[in-house]
Structure formats: C-alpha cells, structure tokens
C-alpha cells in the first residue's frame, strides 16, 4: 500500500467516528449540525495532553473523549426542550461558538525550546506523538481501525439491547416512549453524551494523524457531512454511516473524473437519496429483511430442538 491509499483509508476511519456520532443522534430523531464541535474539542484536548503535558496518546484520547462527552451532555441538557429546526439551529450556534473560542484561545508552553499549544487562528502545531514514537502510517491506521471496531461493537451491542430500542423510540414518538415508562430526559442526555464521546475519539485521532489542527477545519461543513453519511448509508444499522463515509471519501475521492466536482456529485447524491430513500440505503426495513434472511437458518435449527 502506498502512503496515499493509507492516508485515504485513515481519513475514512477518522471521519467514521463523527459519522457514527451524528448517526446516534439521528436515531433519537435529532438533527445536530454541531457534532464537529466535539470532534474539535477532542482534537484540541488530546493534542494538549500529549504535546503540552507530554503524556501518552491513550491518555490524550481518554481526556479528549471525556471532555467532548461531558460538554455534549451539558449542551444536550440545555437543548432538551428544543426539537426540530430549533434544536438544529442551537447545535449549530453552539458549534460555531466553540470554533470562535478556539480562534482566540492562546495557551502555549515551552517544550524542548519550542512553543507548543493552541495559538488562536494559527492553529495548534506540533502534535508529534506519532513521529516521536516512530509510528508508521500503517501502525497508526491500525490504531484508528482498532478503536473504530471497538466503538462499532459497542454500538452494535447497543442496537440489540433495550437501549437501542429506547433510542429508536425517542426518534419516532417521545410521548409514547414516556408512556412506556421511558425516562426520555435521561436517555436524551445519555445519547448526546455517547455521541460526544464518539466524536471526541475521532478528533483525538485526527489531531495526532495530521500533527496540526486549526479551528477552521471544524466548521459546519464537517458537521453537515457527518449527517449526510448516516442519511446516505442508512439509519438501520451502525454500518450505514460507515458505508456513507466510504462512498464519499473513498469512492468519490478515488474516481478521477469526478475530481473537482466532488461536492456537486455528493450534494446530488444526498438529494436523490432523501427523496427515494429517506432513511438511507440500509434503512430499518432493509436491515430487518437482511437479518431475517441470515437468521432463518439458525432459527430453524432452534425450532427443531
């Protein structure tokens, strides 16, 4: 594999985190235009931990994920009473606030004769943990996909658990969920927190992969893409958003003749899918169909017993 392919694959992996983050909120019926803020918070916090405090990367990822999760829960609690458009606008406003704050935050420390830390609009340079450890691109890619697999397993287990049903209940009928004994307030905040953690992990990895982050990267387009991945790939399973990312970052980037027109093709794809498959390629109906297809054999076996 050449470096270009590895970079594209790594990007697919890292963007998948924010796609899964937006997907989780889509399940609960909330369209957030602000998941890029948690991606950014995760990136800055993790960068600060490894480059300024000189702690190992797992500590950076942990801090980034926790900070993003906590902030997401606070924002989730504040926006509880909002729904639909009002919720979306407030998440966007919050994310822009985070970005603008990062534009003015200037905290630098001296590390080995060099000033390291967030420097406002100039960004945060020198997150070099990966190079100091002599980690190859392939090794870092394995770290990305290892963590992605972990998150994916958690999400897939969640789908099978009561929590998965509860999140989908919130997405279709809040009042009815309450009437089934579901504490909707608690589960909405929980969903926001988990979504924040997932985005935070992605951001933490991103900061270390690029060694440099700037507030501008975490603008609203990232959040819009994150939403679109779930809507393209489908909301029936956690694999849906990953398919969305693969289609956008992988396929559209790789196909030469689309180059330069990528955003136009992407936008068209989203529009067409929203009309013909409003819940994406792998929506609940198709996932259910696939599941029964695979389950039939094992079911027949258990019937005989």
């Amino acid at each position: 594999m050449d470096d270009y392919v590895i970079t594209v694959l790594s990007n697919i992996g890292m963007i998948s985190f924010i796609a899964l983050s937006a997907y989780l909120l889509l399940l609960t019926g909330e369209i957030s235009f602000g998941q890029q803020a948690y991606f950014g918070l995760g990136a800055y916090a993790a960068g600060a931990v490894t480059a300024m405090l000189l702690l190992p990367i797992w500590a950076g990822i942990l801090v980034g994920a926790c900070l993003a999760g906590l902030v997401a829960m606070v924002v989730g609690a504040l926006t509880l009473r909002l729904s639909g458009l009002y919720f979306s606008i407030s998440t966007l406003a919050f994310a822009e606030m985070v970005r603008l704050i990062l534009l003015i935050v200037h905290v630098q420390v001296e590390v080995e004769g060099e000033m390291v830390g967030p420097a406002g609009a100039e960004g945060f340079h020198g997150i070099r943990w990966m190079f100091e450890r002599d980690l190859s691109l392939v090794q870092f890619m394995l770290l990305i996909y290892g963590l992605l697999a972990l998150v994916l397993i958690v999400l897939l287990l969640m789908e099978r658990s009561r929590l998965g049903s509860v999140f989908r209940m919130l997405g279709s009928d809040d009042l009815l969920a309450e009437m089934q004994g579901v504490d909707t307030v608690r589960y909405r905040i929980l969903a926001a927190g988990v979504a924040g953690v997932i985005a935070g992990i992605g951001g933490a990895l991103y900061a270390h992969f690029t060694t440099y982050v700037e507030p501008q990267f975490f603008n609203v387009m990232l959040g819009v893409h994150a939403l679109a991945y779930g809507l393209i790939g489908g909301l029936g399973t956690a694999f849906g958003p990953l398919i969305g990312v693969a289609i956008d970052v992988g396929f559209l980037e790789a196909v030469r003749f689309i180059q330069g027109y990528r955003m136009i093709v992407f936008g068209g794809l989203v529009a067409v899918l929203l009309v013909f498959m409003p819940r994406g390629l792998l929506d609940e109906e198709r996932v259910h169909w696939l599941r029964t297809l695979f389950a039939r054999r094992s079911h027949a076996r258990s019937q005989r017993r």
């Binding site: 099978r160 658990s161 009561r162 929590l163 049903s165 509860v166 989908r168 209940m169 997405g171 279709s172 009928d173 009042l175 009815l176 969920a177 309450e178 009437m179 089934q180 004994g181 579901v182 504490d183 909707t184 307030v185 609940e284 109906e285 259910h288 029964t292 389950a295």
Partner: protein, 258 residues
Amino acid sequence: MLELSGLSKHFGGVKAVDGLDLTVNEGEIFGLIGPNGSGKSTTINLICGVFAETAGTVRFRGDLMNGKPPHRRLRAGIARTFQNIRLFPNLTVWQNLWVAQNSRQDVATQGFLPRWFGATRRTRQEIAGLLELADLGHKDDELASNLAFGEQRRLEFARAAAARPKLLLLDEPAAGMNQQEIDDLSQRIRRVRDSGVTILLVEHVMELVMGVTEQMAVLNFGRKIASGTPGEVQRDRAVQEAYLGTAGSTSRPGEGGD
C-alpha cells in the same frame, strides 16, 4: 384508586378542564363521556402527566401524582392507549412489547443483562404469552409498520397489558369500529377488568359506554355535569341538553340550529 379533586387545565383563557372532581374505585369500569371539546382527552392527559395541571390534584392509590412525569406514573401503574394507533414503526412487534414490559419495577430489578438484553426466560415467556393472547404469536419478529390495521390495534392493547397497569386509560378505543368489533372490544375490556385492572374508558360511542361501564361521569365545557350509573345519567336533563341542545330559544351561542 384514582381521585381527581378540583382538577383544572386552562390554555390561556380557555378552560379545557375546570374544577373536576372524580373518583374511580378499584376494580371498576368507569366511563367518561361528553361532546367534542368537553375536556375528556385533556383529563386523560392530566391523569397520565402529559399536561401539568393549572390547579387541583391527581391522586393514585393515595399518592399525589402532581409534578410526576409520565414515565413515573406508568411505573406507579397508570397505562393508557391512544385514540389513533400509536406504535413504534421501526421496532419489531417483540421490541414494542419488550420496553414496556421491561419498565416494570419487578422486571427492572433483575440485574444488568436481563434488563438490557431481555435474556431471562421469564421475560421471553411473558412476552410470548402476550403475543399469544393478541393472536400475534407468529409475527414477533415483524416490524410494527408491516402489520395490518387490526393487528396493530391488538398490538397496542397487548403493549398496554405488558406494563401490567393497575389503572388502564382507554382513549376512544371504539373509534371507527363496526358493531361486531365493538362487541369484541366490550368483551376484551371486561376480561381485562376481571384480571384485576381498573379501567377508565373515555368514549363517545354510546353503545359501548352504556353496555360496559358501571359508573360514569359526563363532561361539558370542562365541567362535570352529571355522574352515576349509566341509567341515571341517561335520564339526566342536563346531559340531554348537552347532547341535544336545549329546547326553544335558550340554546347557547355556537350550538347551531335555527
């Protein structure tokens, strides 16, 4: 069992429910009727906590329910059905029943795995029993959105039963039903009552209310205008006026008629 006193709900200047006093005794099938807009649905929403009351109290088995969110009231034993079918279309039939069953206190304390993954034999048997009763045994893995209309109705009823409520609020369950279906429904309501559930039936299909209830109250403009047995209520003059309008020129504005 259920005690409403001085219960009021005002939307701005509109007094949807105004100083309602009502007592439903344990084991009763209690009917609540009234013309459109008389405050029946608002009353149900106040009892199960969808709306916060403007004044008055809701007591259930002696406990004050004011300020408790709907999910706490469900756990206390108040379940309801909706006027229009409301299911979770993206969940399977089994999952639709599971969450309600799982909210119950006796099931919720079983520990982490059974609670979150539905793994106990007891949970599975209980849901299988509910499916059997609702005649949906073979459809457990079907998405709720793929069910036929009648099946959806039965699933909704089964889901209300899954929570094992002590008080079941039925919001116009006979809407759009033919005579045969109404007879079936009366039987089902009696069976549920006989299994130890108190029932508050809100309805304006008269055959059902008159046939199945033992005590009833009539609402008009948010106030109780009569109460008693169906026979007593039927003979009540105020009730006849509310439904048919008063004779002569004394009819209230907006009631129509020339």
